[in-house]
Amino acid sequence: MSLVNKLKFCINEDLDRFSELPEHIIHHILSFLPIKDIIRILSKTWKSLSNSYEIFLDLHYDHNSFALELLLDSEIVPEIDEIRDRFMDFADNHLSRVVQQQIPALKLAVNVAVIGSEFCGVDQLMELDRKAKVEELSIFKVTTFYEFPYSITEDKWLRSLTVQGCKFTGKNFISNDNAGMYSSLQQLYLSRILLFDEEALSNIASPRNRNY
């Protein structure tokens, strides 16, 4: 084998076919994969890429710890309503950024202590969650019961759902002809919930879903 041929051979052998793809295309491919696979593949294959690819393993918006930090930081004690608004703004802004930059999140937990019946902030947050790639979602709600937003179960990436302090009324139910709905949900944990009738749960806990 001539030197040139040999050289060519070496180059070809070293050619990293998948890495040949530009980074934005690899990101696009990864967007179709479950987070576990993304981590498995990235961490073992592309050093450069795994540094640039952001994944949230645990995203937690906690009303109580937010309030505590706020109280410790500020000289004048803010009103309860103000704390709530600022918490909602903070969570909303942060999750918006996550959605916009298409950063996947393995776990997302939302702890809200909504005072009164001001749920629009939570609704907005749940709407954002639906646009994000989240695999394990926990909603904890203290004081008054929050009406469970059925639309979040439409999310094809959602594998595990934990709900506490919500009411299931069956209202705002999405029709079942939306193919693929609930197909990804494997685990469902419910506690301290208000159930209006059996119907209200039946579609979430379909036979396809296990371990609930």
Binding site: F32, I39, I41, T45, K47
Partner: protein
């Protein structure tokens, strides 16, 4: 060339990186946002001449495939995206290729801004590597492990749950 009052092109000529010419009708070309943009620009200028669009990044092999896809999808352009026949065709279309071709096709779809083809390719690649072991993925894509053993161990410990 005869000129009509309203300027409208019916065909364009696309040139591959290896200098082969492809005559493409407008409806097919419009599947690519890049080609569509070129056509729109020319029409705005009021040109009735056949325009030549050089694609310096796409070889004729790959361009043939992209155009085959565009032709099929132009036929279904008025249908909704959920057409089962088209979905079946898409799948059969991609199944034929090896990973090298698939990668080139993906890059061409990206370059020519054919979003549905780009999505299709990326989904197809993702599906095909989803259930493979890291070892198999490395083999298929010829990926060299660029981690040091220490780095590899650290990552494995951090993300132990992600490894079977």
């Amino acid at each position: 060339m005869a000129s009509s009052s309203s300027s409208s092109l019916s065909r364009v000529v696309v040139k591959s990186s290896d200098n082969n010419l492809f005559v493409v009708n407008k409806k097919v070309a419009s599947q690519s946002q890049l080609l569509k943009q070129c056509i729109d620009n020319m029409e705005e200028k009021g040109t009735n001449d056949v325009i030549l669009i050089p694609l310096s990044n796409v070889t004729s092999n790959i361009l043939t495939l992209v155009l085959e896809y565009c032709e099929k999808h132009a036929d279904f352009a008025d249908d909704d995206n959920n057409n089962q026949e088209l979905k079946q065709w898409d799948h059969e279309f991609l199944k034929k290729f090896d990973y090298a071709t698939l990668n080139s096709l993906t890059m061409a779809a990206d370059y020519m801004v054919t979003k549905s083809l780009l999505n299709l390719c990326c989904q197809f690649i993702a599906d095909s590597i989803k259930d493979l072991t890291v070892q198999q993925i490395r083999q298929i894509f010829d990926i060299k492990n660029d981690f040091t053993p220490q780095e590899e161990a650290d990552i494995k410990n951090e993300n132990a749950w992600a490894f079977r």
